[in-house]
Each structure stands twice: as C-alpha cells, then as structure tokens.
Amino acid sequence: MDEPESAKISMTRSSEAVPSPAGQPPKTNGAQSKDMRGRPRRRADAIFRMLVQGSGVVLLVIMAAIAVFLILQAIPALKADTTNFLTTLNWAPDSTPSSFGIAALAFGSLLTSLLALVMSVPVAVGVALAISHYAPRWLAGPLAYVVDLLAAVPSVVFGLWGLIYLVPSIIGPSKFLSTYFGFIPLFETNGTYGKSVFAASVVLAVMIIPIIAAISREIFVQTPRDHIEAAWAIGATKWEMVRTAILPYGRSGVVSATVLGFGRAIGETIAVALVLSANYEISLHILQPGGNTIAANIANRYGEAGGIGRGALIASGLVLFVITLIVNFGARAIVRRGEREGA
C-alpha cells in the first residue's frame, strides 16, 4: 500500500519541485530534458508516462460517469417523493402517493459495517501478526495461503452459510447476551431472535477478515529490519518489539486495509439480503430480527420495482456512493495525520 519514501519521489514528475509528504525540504531535479540520473529522456519514457496518466484519467472519468448516471436516474424519483428522502422510515416509491426515505437504510448500512469492523479488525490484525512474526515458517506459508483463499470465496456462499447455519445457531448466544446484558440498549430484544443485525454483522466480519489480514500482513512483513533490531537491542520482549516497531510502521497500512474491508462490508449485497430480515425501522436492538442496508434493499426491491421504484433505488445507490467517498476521505486524513506524527 504505502511505498517507501524513495519510491514516492521517483514517481512524481522529475521536472517539478514537489514538496515531499513528510515535510522535508523540496527536492529539485535538473533540466527538463534529463531524467533523474541525468540521462536524456527517451521516447519510451514519454509514452509510458502518457499511459500511466491516461489510466489515472480514465479512472476519474469512470467515477464521474457513475456519479452523473446515478444523479440523472435519481432525480425524477426524488421529485416524485412526497416525503423527506433523508428522514422517512419507509420504502414505498411505487405507491400513490410515493413515499420513501433513506434514513433506516443508511443507518443499517453503517451499523452492520461498523459492527463487522469491530469484530473483524482485531482478529485480522492478530492473524496478520501471527503469519508475519509468530508462526513457524512451515505453518506461516499455508496459513497465508488459506487466508488468501478465504478472500476468494464468493459472497453468496457466505450468505447461504449465514442463512442456513449461522442464523439458527446464533439464537443461543443472542439469548445469553440479551438475558445477562439486556440492560445495555444494544442487547435489548423483544423476545424474538434470528435474522438480526448481529447475524448479518458476523457474516460480514467473516467476509472481510481475509482482506484486512492479507493487506496488514503485507505491511507487517515490510517492517524495516533495523527497526526490529533496534527494538531487540534495547531489550524489548517480543510483544514490546511488535508494539514499538511493527504496529507503528504498519498503522497506515492497517487503516487502509480497514477502509477496504469497510467498503466491501457496506457494499455487500447478496449475503446481507439473504441474512437480514428487512424492515425500515431505526433500531439499536441488534439481537432481534430486523435491520436493512442500502445494498440489500436494492437487491430485494429491484426485480419488482416500477419506474419510480427503480429511480428511488438508484437514489439510494447514490447515497451509498457518497457515504463510501466520505469514509475514504476520512480514512485518508487519518493516515496522513498518522504519517505526520510518526515522522
């Protein structure tokens, strides 16, 4: 994820004076017609630069095109909505009068994804550390392989597992939590259990562990040898070495991995649609049936949606798009601050 400093600099255009991200004095290079080592630029360089920049531009164009498409499709439905799109707890776009709102769906998307992160990040970081620094060589290889393999399992498989196995077997633990910790609003129930936000979050957590673990592992492995040696040299125990050398080095990578995991969780469609019992209420009672997410709602409602219904679903997709963008920017800010403090 994060290239070493030297790689970052070599990727910026050599002719420009770019202040380095770590706040070191700007480095300038020679005349425009020379490359970094002072050799004349070749045509291949120019072509390669064009290709690379082209790819970047194409990506931006695709993103913009998606946004424009979503907005254009959503506008007629949003105009037809007779209630407040942001606050209504209902989804009946094709009824007369049309009434639908994103509140419960957006809330459910964020709640399931956040719960999934809370459950998966500690486990994933542990798995990554175990593979990179704890497991013996003969075990680390196969373990890493299994984690990568898990990342390739299609989500519908996780969904079916959730529906057929997890939902019935999570009732016991749910009852336990509700009986003994019911004073916490999160664990309160109305006495029924089953297709709950909790079950959906567990499915999502299992789905995103491999992504977070795989990326974190890659970062941890790259920890410079001298950081580790330095920790050993001042008499650190293994845990102290991990805490002072590996985790600080890998922090921005773990945050990036978490953001990717969050992206997969909040965009997950079919697994959530299979496991959640869809309704349109905002409730923190994660152990009882209920909950819904933007993506699952699209999967559930698209097939039978009429003209306005389709537009309404696309409008909800637009909201999901915006939420993901905000989360990404937020995470980037965290990474950047971390780099500045760590430097």
Binding site: A92, S95, A152, V157, L163, R301, Y302, G303, E304, G307
Partner: protein, 369 residues
C-alpha cells in the same frame, strides 16, 4: 503459489453462478420430464423470440420452450427472469417481445408506456399460469392439517395472535393438541407477486383484521423477512413455531405441512389441484377486448374453491408486433394455452387454467397481430 489459487477462485465462482441460478427460480426444481414428448399441440414456425420478467412462471416457460424447441428446430426462444417489474420495463423499452408479469399492467403511466411501444394496438394481459400459495407451518406434535381462517391468518401475521394454542386457533381445530409455543411469522423481504396475492386474499376475506391492503412488498409490522420463497420456506422449516406463505412446490419439496385456509364464509378449503382450479374458474375478466386481466372472486362461498393463489400473465402487444415475429409468437403462446401445454403445469407445481378461461386465452392469442 499463484496458479492453484486462481484455479480455486475460478471453481468457487462457477459454484456461485450455479447457486445464484438456483436462487432465482421462484417455484423451485428444474423442469421435470415432459408429459408431452410427442409435441402435441405444437405448430412450428421459425424465428426468434425474447421474453423476460416474472420468476414465478419461469419453470413453466422453461418447460414450454423445451417442448417447443424439441419439435421445431428453426425456432429460438429465450425467457429471462429478473422479476415482473423488470419484464414490464424491458417490454416498454422494446427490448423483449413479451413480458411475464405477476400483475396486469397498472392503469395510467404503466399502461400508457406499454401502449406507446405497441403503437398499432394496446398492450394486453394474457393469464397463462396459475400458482397455488400454501400457508406452511412448523408446529411440532401437530400431525393433522391445521384449519386457519383468513381472520386468524391476518391476526397471526400482524402479531395479534402470538401463541399456537390461542383460543381462536383452537376453536377452529377441535381435537388437535396445540402446543403453548410462540408463533414466528416469515414473509418475503423482496417484492413479489406471491406477497401481493396472499395479502390480497387477506384484504378481501379478512377485511376487519387486515388493514394493510394488497401490496407486492410486505408492509405489516413484525415477523421476519426472507429473500425468495426458498428463504421463507427455509425459515419456517428451521424454526419451531414458524409460519409462512410460499408456492405449493416449496411446501412439497421441503415437506412442510400446510393449512386448509378459510374462505369468505369461514369454511376451510384444503389446497389441492382441483380446489385451486375451481377458484380460478370463478375469476372474472376485468379487461376489455382481448385483454384478459382477471379479478379473483374472493367472495365465493364454494367450499371447494381454494382462495389463496396467484395467476401470472404474459404482457404482449395486441397489434403492432413485427410481421416476422407474429407466427412464432402466436404458435408458441398458442401451445402454452393449448390443453397439451397446460397439462405440463401440475408437474411443475403450478395449476392449469380452467377450461373456460383457457379457451378465452387461446382466442386472445389467435387474435394477436
């Protein structure tokens, strides 16, 4: 390292594809063996037809297409699922030759849009397949089929009756030892013609207790939602005290017992092929001309008419079809509406159209142009 990994990923993707297709079908099971190996009732023409829409009729279509193509090698017919709403949209956009839909075209914008596509004549609804809806339950210890009145069903599905040994249920089931078990209701979380017709039945036969009208999306509070009839059946099957509604084929496949439901007069009617066809035969044609949009007669007091079923339509241009498509369109839909075609249905978990209606359907198909 790289290679085996990729192979495994590919394998699981293919697996997922298979699973997804299995989920899409609304009646479960694949087309079973044909009752029409000789291709009776089929007149061949060549060309190609594309259709899409209702997943409820997908297995029926698959069977008819298989029969037709077996006999007629020059034809090419495709029916894609996707849901009724999708089908109607694609029909209106001119992307398919006809659409399968669990609902007739809604008066207003939807009908006008479809008419505009047809230009020369209005778009019409032709009922083609009937599907009985079972109310399945999981009550341990109860072996005799339960009697559930429309009013009790409405109260159960709105959370007003919460125990299986409630007096109102016990009263209708003398001699049955009902357990003091909580009731857990399951409904569809996706939009569905099954939900529409089940709630339509409740809205008519349990007016006082069901105030949510008929809707393809479940609107009543409480209960658990599940995706697809498969999901509802799975929920009922795995939950002691569970109850849900789904097409009959899911009840028989998963061996879930189903109730005799109450009609308008409070008589209990068990779900059999004959009883369902009987109810369909009372349906009134609400459309004009060759439009055969149906209104079910929920008020019927006939104790051998099972009042909880759905009918799924083909939506097609009455006039203005492309000249090169007309022969195949008429011959294929004509086969579906023929006695031989309709006889394929019971084996797929559907019911055949009653003869009075079937003849009207055949006339409507013949008049297409």
């Amino acid at each position: 390292m790289k290679r085996p990994q990729r192979r495994v990923a590919l394998g699981s993707l293919i697996g997922a594809g298979l699973l997804l297709t299995a989920c899409g079908s609304d009646t479960g099971g694949s087309p079973s063996s044909s009752t029409n190996p000789g291709g009776a009732g089929i007149t061949c023409s060549s060309g190609s037809l594309t259709a899409a829409g209702s997943t409820a009729q997908q297995n029926a279509m698959a069977q008819w297409i298989k029969d037709y193509l077996n006999k007629c090698s020059g034809a090419n017919i495709n029916y894609g699922g996707g849901g009724s709403g999708q089908g109607v949209q694609q029909f209106t956009d001119g992307k398919v030759d006809f659409a399968g839909s669990d609902f007739p075209l809604a008066a207003g914008a939807e009908q006008q849009g479809a008419d505009a596509r047809c230009k020369a004549g209005p778009a019409i609804n032709i009922p083609m397949v009937g599907g009985p809806i079972a109310v399945g339950y999981n009550v341990p210890g109860v072996t005799k089929p339960l009697n559930l009145s429309a009013s009790n069903l409405a109260k159960i599905f709105t959370g007003k009756i919460t125990k299986w040994n409630d007096g109102a249920i016990a009263q209708d089931n003398p001699g049955v030892a009902l357990p003091a078990l909580g009731i857990q209701t399951f409904h569809r979380s996706d939009g569905s013609g099954t939900t529409y017709n089940f709630t339509n039945y409740l809205a008519h036969d349990a007016k006082a207790d069901w105030t949510f009208g008929a809707d393809k999306n479940w609107t009543a509070p409480g209960g658990q939602g599940a995706k697809g009839s498969q999901g509802v059946a799975q929920g009922v099957k795995s939950t002691a005290g569970g109850i849900g509604y789904f097409e009959l084929s899911f009840a028989t496949q998963s061996q879930i017992p189903y109730a005799a439901v109450g009609n308008a007069e409070g008589k209990f009617v068990s779900l059999t092929q004959d009883n369902a066809v009987k109810f369909l035969s009372y349906a009134k044609v609400a459309g004009t001309g060759s439009d055969l949009k149906l209104d079910f007669d929920y008020a019927t007091t006939d104790a051998s008419a099972y009042p909880n079923l759905l009918v799924t339509y083909e939506i097609v241009c009455s006039k203005g079809n492309p000249a090169d498509k007309i022969p195949l369109l008429k011959n294929f839909l004509g086969y579906a509406a023929s006695p031989a075609g309709q006889q394929e249905l019971p084996a797929q978990g559907y019911i055949s159209l009653p003869d009075n209606l079937r003849q009207q359907v055949q006339q409507a198909v013949n008049s297409l142009g």
